[in-house]
Symmetry: C2
Subunit: 212 residues, 2 copies
Amino acid sequence: MSQTDTKQRILDAAEHLFARDGYHATSLRSITTEAEANLAAVNYHFGSKESLLEAIIDRRLRPLNQIRQGQLDALLQKTEAAGTIPSCRDVLRTFVEPTLRLRKQGSGSENFIALIGRTLAEPQGIAMSIFMRNMEPLLARLFQALNLSLPGVSRQVLFWRVHFVFGSLSHVMRCHERHSIVPEDVSIDMSVEEEVELFLDFAVAGMEVKKQ
Amino acid sequence: MSQTDTKQRILDAAEHLFARDGYHATSLRSITTEAEANLAAVNYHFGSKESLLEAIIDRRLRPLNQIRQGQLDALLQKTEAAGTIPSCRDVLRTFVEPTLRLRKQGSGSENFIALIGRTLAEPQGIAMSIFMRNMEPLLARLFQALNLSLPGVSRQVLFWRVHFVFGSLSHVMRCHERHSIVPEDVSIDMSVEEEVELFLDFAVAGMEVKKQ
DNA sequence: ACCTGATTCAAACGAATGTTTAAATCATAT
DNA sequence: ATATGATTTAAACATTCGTTTGAATCAGGT
């Protein structure tokens, strides 16, 4: 059993428990038990509980953001070459689609998505600063692209609507399991494409609407 | 200094700290310090930390839901008497307006709103079950009214869109302070009415949109 | 003034937390 | 085989946690 085995098992277990119970409600003992590792392994491999959280976020957020960044760049290059402006729907899709696709990818990534969803709900938390360090450049470019795609919407209103969309998305990210208020006749199993377009139907309409 | 003084001070302090740092990251010692009460006061007046959380939620959620319920009933009676169906905007307003109004009311209610916002982000948490006990009847009626107001939207799609709206709303509830990603030139000070209508512009457009 | 019940207080409880230690074990290259 | 560095292990570390205790203090009625 090599070093990376233990490290990975700890990362997976912690990702799962942090997502399910939250950072503070999860003990290192419960993590190492689930990972079948010794209690001291966390501090040996990661240094501290907080650094473990950082490693969890970095592991998946870095490649995810590279995909988002690549799709956004490709879209902007394409529209610029064609002399048009990107649609709000296409801009948002570069952010949302890789997110929901990663969740369906398995091997614990659904836990990561839920963890990020929780993180967004704790503005003052430890996870938020780690998260924002990875997100800030991309978020700035995304806002810029949305501003370009919606010339009729003021920066003021645009900001709030982006806020609303992020709220919706983080909620969807958190709730990957059947909820108590979900009616029995509502199916929650959809393909990634269905999920993405269902979300974009909602989000784009809200982004584009003229003031009433 | 009477009994209710200490009880109220503990409720206010705990509401503030639970909202800011989360339930598990807040200790009874930090609560009683902020409330200028003895450590044992929490267990004397409330029995346990968990019962304190329950008291916090009950204190404000009960009257808030009565207002929401009253406004929804009034709307449904009015439209039924007129032989029409309620608009989606009016139905959503009966839920959203009392919420954002309470936040602006002061005396710590903004902490409660943020706490509920956090609660909605912890599906498996202790607060969620306490919260849902108070919310389930109203949520069922709200969903029914929305179904009535949007005859063109299937139950399946409607459920998801309500999900999205709740995500947006809970996000707005959490973020009552200026965020790091908020551009400098974006004002976050609005009247309740402005806030409500800005939110409803977004949410109603997403609820009503035809599939693309 | 005195009694009674409610409230406050300092102190301590056992349990659980994140972290550290030092010895034991493993893997690998010479 | 042996030496070396990486990893694992059991045990203990000092804190902090929620809760409990029993005495002290308070308020109000007789």
